[in-house]
């Protein structure tokens, strides 16, 4: 996992909002964009960053491109944090 890429991707509020929008399930680039006051080009840049960090997956469906969360990275992220902070009473366990 590219730790630096993931943290950098999460540092931008627009990108976190994109991730949040994807919680409800996959959406096209355009559908995601509706929620933001930003050009499609800028959005596309953010998608690229999220994709590079492996936080989202893409799939072309006709003329649309569908984005979805890559939830496996979640576990990695949790581990990353555990690794960054002291154990403090065995919170870790299974996760």
């Amino acid at each position: 996992m590219k730790q630096q890429e993931v943290f950098k991707a999460m540092a931008d509020p627009t990108r976190r909002a994109i991730l949040k929008r994807l919680q409800g399930g996959p959406l096209t680039a355009g559908e995601i964009g509706e929620a933001f006051d930003i050009t499609p080009a800028s959005l596309s840049h953010h998608f690229a960053v999220l994709k590079h960090a492996d936080l989202v997956r893409t799939e072309r469906r006709g003329q649309y491109i569908v984005y979805s969360l890559n939830s496996t990275v979640f576990e990695d992220l949790a581990r990353m944090l555990m690794d960054l902070f002291p154990a403090k009473g065995k919170v870790g366990g299974k996760l």
Copy 2:
């Protein structure tokens, strides 16, 4: 909790390394700095960012300033992530 500040603070590799160094317990600014090829002034800037995000605490001890991890933020961070990613089989629980 200042979500934006926390994520921004964690986005820099030097700052993550500082946090990691503090896992073993409190250290003075100078002791932390030994591990990095960076000026004290730059280090101080990083400390300020971490402090602003409430990730570290400071205490003056004589002519030294001692930094320590603020572990309570850890829980907040975990929660933040839970909030950003879908539940996926009740991983959350107690934490």
